[in-house]
Amino acid sequence: MERADPALDDTAGIDLSFAGPPVAPALPWHQRALDVASAYLPLILMAALAGATWWLVTQAPSLDGPAGPAAPRHEPDYTMTTFMIQRFGPDGALRTQIEGDRLRHYPDTDTLEIDNPRFRAIAADGNVTLASAKRALSNGDGSEVQLFDDAKVTRNGKGPNDPPLEFRSEFLHAFRNIERVRSNRPVTVTQGDSRVQADAMEYDNLTQTVDLKGRTRALFESRGGGVSR
């Protein structure tokens, strides 16, 4: 817009402050450039900073997003050495006790692998069952235990004339819930002076029977025969 005619500039006494500061005369270009620069300097700086940050973000290694279910690796998530696990029933009585040299828990299959285990299970009727082996594989809650190498399960008898019953084999598979002990390898069942061997066997604690499979052999010491002990 064209400036007003200087002849009309007789309004000396009139307050013209509403019109804002008097317009400064034009500055040389470098001064103006400096002014613009100093005016816009913070903006430029911020822009530079933003650019740098943006650059930084693109360079940063992208976090692998929530990975899909990782392929379960058969690795123990916790191990225990020279341990003892005790499990108590609701009434506070000791139900099972597991001792061993080393224990490894595998999360993918939720199994426990124990070296040199010694199990002790006390049934509701007070019947104590002991088990031991070189290596054991048990599922999460210990209701199914497989014993390998020199496996031995001993069920204590109820009274004097009920001597403890012992199973000995290279492999024994004990099911606590259905109270069975099974083996598909040659097994020796010993009670008192009687010893029975078979190629495989299944012991059912509920019906108190042992099904012997394959060829069977037995030896009965006649205690009454005055055999010198």
Binding site: Q191, T216, L219, S222
Partner: protein, 188 residues
């Protein structure tokens, strides 16, 4: 043989068996052979039961074609007692063997049959070496009348035995010698 009393009983079988812990007995199946000292019992199925006193009784079940058989050496000389029956009960404490139904028990001197007793029920007490036999109505091939039948040979070394041996020798000269089967188990 008296020495058998103290000997352990060993059992061998081919087919699956069962142990019943409540009643303390073990069942064996398939060509079962029970040996105790010089005594051997063979059958298709044998149950060995432990008596509270710690003795073991065995009940041997023969099948129709194959009776349960028993064989034990006697203390005196080279004499064996052999017997068979549909069912054979051996009592470990009193050492008595009961041959039940179609029982026939033989006393052998070496390989020759000295005495033979057939009847329905024969009990043989190996400590006192006494047989007693009760007759039964069931006639068998060997014993059509079902009554007790005993064939007794004269005692060895007695005069009668000598005469019989002489007679037998002359008869044997003509007839082929009778030989009883050394291994048992095949039906007579």
């Amino acid at each position: 043989v008296k020495a058998d009393r103290a000997k352990p009983i060993t059992v061998e079988a081919d087919l699956p068996g069962k142990i019943d812990l409540l009643n303390q007995f073990v069942v064996f199946n398939g060509n079962v052979v029970v040996t105790k000292g010089t005594m051997t019992i063979r059958a298709d199925r044998i149950e060995v039961r432990e008596t509270p006193g710690g003795y073991h009784n065995a009940v041997a079940f023969g099948s129709a074609g194959k009776p349960a058989t028993f064989r034990q050496k006697r203390d005196v000389g080279d004499e064996w007692i052999e017997g068979e029956a549909q069912r054979l009960e051996y009592d470990g404490r009193s050492d008595v063997v009961r041959f039940v139904t179609n029982a026939s028990v033989r006393r052998l001197r070496g390989a020759t049959v000295a005495d033979e007793i057939t009847g329905n029920l024969v009990t043989y007490d190996s400590t006192t070496e006494v047989f007693n036999v009760t007759g039964g109505a069931t006639p068998t091939a060997a014993n059509p009348s079902g009554r007790i039948r005993a064939v007794l040979a004269p005692r060895e070394g007695s005069a009668a035995a000598a005469d019989m041996a002489a007679a037998a020798a002359s008869a044997a000269a003509s007839a082929p010698p009778l030989r009883s089967t050394p291994t048992l188990g095949t039906p007579r």
